[in-house]
Amino acid sequence: MNVRVAHLYPDYLNIYADRGNIAVLVKRAAWRGHDLEVTAIDMRGPIDPGAYDLYYLGGGQDREQLLVAPDFAAKADPLREAVDGGAAVLAVCGGYQLLGRGYRGFHGEDMPGVGLLPLETVAGDRRMIGDVLIDTEMGPLAGFENHAGRTHLDPGAEPLGRVVSGFGNDGESGFEGCRMGRVVGTYLHGPLLPRNPRFADWLLAQALAHRTGGEPPELAPLDDELESEAHAVSSARARTRGGTY
């Protein structure tokens, strides 16, 4: 099967090794006999709502995030149409913030968001930096977070997971990320997918479901010994040193 991924703003939002996430999706699809085709969508590049099964949005420094925010906000309608049609989205860190209604930056700049997820982000005075471990429906996820933004979910909004160790969305609520169906936003980088293969496969299955119009398929298991080892070390790091300034 041919899975189509739109990688949004790869030249601007790539600060936390976002291409690692893409590499994992490409390989894990290929090992199951699927061809993952990645298209870069940059400034002023249009979104054709039916053309992609998965949208990926990475993290950027404040400056780059500020540069893309207005362009991304202008893509809100086709993106919402794509999501309503069952496309999956993974947005990390800066990209996650832009999926909400907006972001108030460190120097007071207001950045518009696309309003896809029911949340808002405001920059705090201390960055929340460190290893992080969360519990989700797709199992535990281990990563690294580095964000000044405090993300507040609207009442009733579903977080991606509960913080086991680390700061999470705002350092207080115990929530990390946000999930709405096949749309996931999170602060976890590291990058996220190499050391969390079960989650990578979940995402891949959602994209395949969009492609076929059916249910997410069961994917053939892979030898994830290295992945498990990396996950274990990353989790242990979060337990011993996550969530401290």
């Binding site: 090794a17 590499a23 580095n146 190499p194 290295l226 990396a230």
Partner: protein, 462 residues
């Protein structure tokens, strides 16, 4: 005095006493095997009396010069030291202890020195230059590096700008024109490369500072040399690389062995043969040339010093191990590691490599940077990779998802075992390529020293 000043037991202790006490601690630190004692005495001194650093620096009759950059500061400082040695007795923090405490230790240990030559951590630069009042400041480059520790690149650049703006007029600022963030700082001497033949066809994946520092438009590069360093111009507002006062032209890269170039100084041109490979070392050399020119070195002294120069500690260092050789190449961030990879591949890609990833504070706790390194050019030649260090598994994944066959990857977190495994796989007379992060390199140096193969780093750094 600043509010953070600690007055020891409410008593002002004379500098001479502090100096003696701190030196004694350095000796003790070495005796108990805590390492080189390269920062402990300085930490003690700066806790006892932060103003002591100012007074120690003021004792140097020829003043001080600082060198800072994300990449290459240790090598640039070591090159400048080689150039200046015939002229000055130096206080130089050669082992790379480059925070305020390391600077204090160096100044403490350097009785009789005339000139302070200080490599300074990018984040520590503002405080160090406020205290030591340098007569010359060399600003090399800013790449994304240890975002968990330094924060975003822009933030470091803003702090540099504030620090440079606060310098008195008589301080000479020497800046890398090829880095848009650094080249935009007010400087008297700009250095850069001027040889599009050795430029890269395009900006690398992880290039930083791709957008105009003034208006945000992507720069147009007529030549991109290392990461985002190059000859850039903004098509919208016209911001462009400043004119070069010190430049390298006619650059000839000779694989893993050396590089030669014509060094254009403001008043003369000299041919330079450098016994180090790689374009990034040309940047280090012209940075050292521009700085030492500002300090009064002649063109002949500069060319001769660069020709005499040999690899700085752990940066392209070769160590004999029986009938084999270890080649140690420090990797610490995407831009630096990319240049190490490029240089290795230019010299004929190795069949075997030991790569060691630690995640201590000095390495960066966030290991995501390895995914931004272009390791892929190594994969074609590589039959076996020994992944080592505290995050060996993560490193193995980087190569697995980069396309290296999983059967070719060995995971050996213990550095000692990884080194032995690498040596075992290296044929007699062969060279083992080892790419460690910072604390992994220190640990490897300790292992090699413990086996009597090389003197410990604090002795070589003395």
């Amino acid at each position: 005095m600043s509010p953070r000043t600690v007055t020891f037991a409410g008593v002002h202790v004379p500098l001479a006493f502090e100096v003696a006490a701190a030196r004694a601690v350095a000796g003790l630190s070495r005796l108990v095997g805590a390492g080189g004692g390269t920062t402990v005495p300085g930490k003690l001194l700066s806790t006892l009396d932060p103003g002591a650093v100012d007074r120690l620096a003021a004792r140097l009759p020829a003043g001080t010069a600082t060198i800072s950059a994300t990449n290459g500061k240790t090598t640039t400082a070591a090159m400048a030291a080689e150039i200046l040695r015939p002229r000055f007795r130096l206080a130089h923090n050669r082992s790379g202890a480059n925070l305020l405490s390391g600077v204090a230790s160096t100044l403490l240990a350097a009785g009789g020195a005339e000139l302070g030559l200080l490599e300074v951590d990018e984040a520590a630069l503002p405080e160090v230059i406020r205290r030591v009042h340098p007569r010359a400041v060399c600003l090399g480059n800013l790449f994304r590096d240890q975002l968990d520790r330094y924060g975003e690149l822009e933030l470091v650049a803003e702090r540099w700008r504030a620090a440079v703006d606060a310098l008195p007029r008589e301080t000479v600022v020497v800046a890398n024109a090829d880095d848009p963030q650094v080249g935009d700082l007010p400087a008297q001497i700009h250095f850069g490369l001027d040889d599009p033949r050795v430029a890269r066809p395009a900006l690398q994946h992880a290039a930083d500072s791709k957008y105009c520092v003034r208006c945000g438009t992507p720069y147009v590069y007529s030549a991109a040399y290392v990461g985002h360093l190059g000859d850039y111009r903004c098509g919208t507002c016209g911001h462009a690389r400043p004119a070069l006062d010190v430049a390298a032209r006619a650059i000839e890269l000779h694989g893993l062995e050396r590089v030669s170039f014509d060094l254009q100084l403001p008043d003369a041109t000299r041919h330079v043969e450098l016994e180090l490979p790689g374009l990034y070392n040309v940047y280090n050399a012209i940075g050292a040339a521009a700085l030492t020119h500002a300090l009064g070195a002649s063109p002949d002294e500069i060319a001769a010093g660069l020709a005499r120069f040999r690899a700085a500690f752990g940066r392209f260092e070769r160590i004999a191990v029986g009938d084999k050789t270890l080649l140690l190449l420090l990797i610490k961030n995407p831009a630096g590691a990319n240049e190490v990879v490029r240089t290795l591949v230019d010299g004929g890609a190795p069949h075997l490599a030991v790569v060691a990833l630690n995640d201590a504070i000095a390495d960066g706790r966030d290991v995501s940077w390895i995914w931004d390194v272009d390791f892929e050019p190594l994969l074609d030649g590589l039959d076996r990779l020994v992944a080592s260090g505290d995050r060996a598994g993560e490193l193995a994944l980087r190569f697995k998802y980069g396309g290296l066959d999983e059967e070719s990857i060995e995971v050996e977190p213990s550095l000692e075992h990884a080194l032995d495994r690498g040596l075992e796989l290296t044929p007699a007379g062969g060279e083992l390529v080892v790419l460690p992060t910072y604390t992994a390199m220190l640990a490897l140096q300790r292992i090699v020293a413990a086996r009597g193969l090389a003197p410990p780093y604090w002795e070589r750094a003395a």
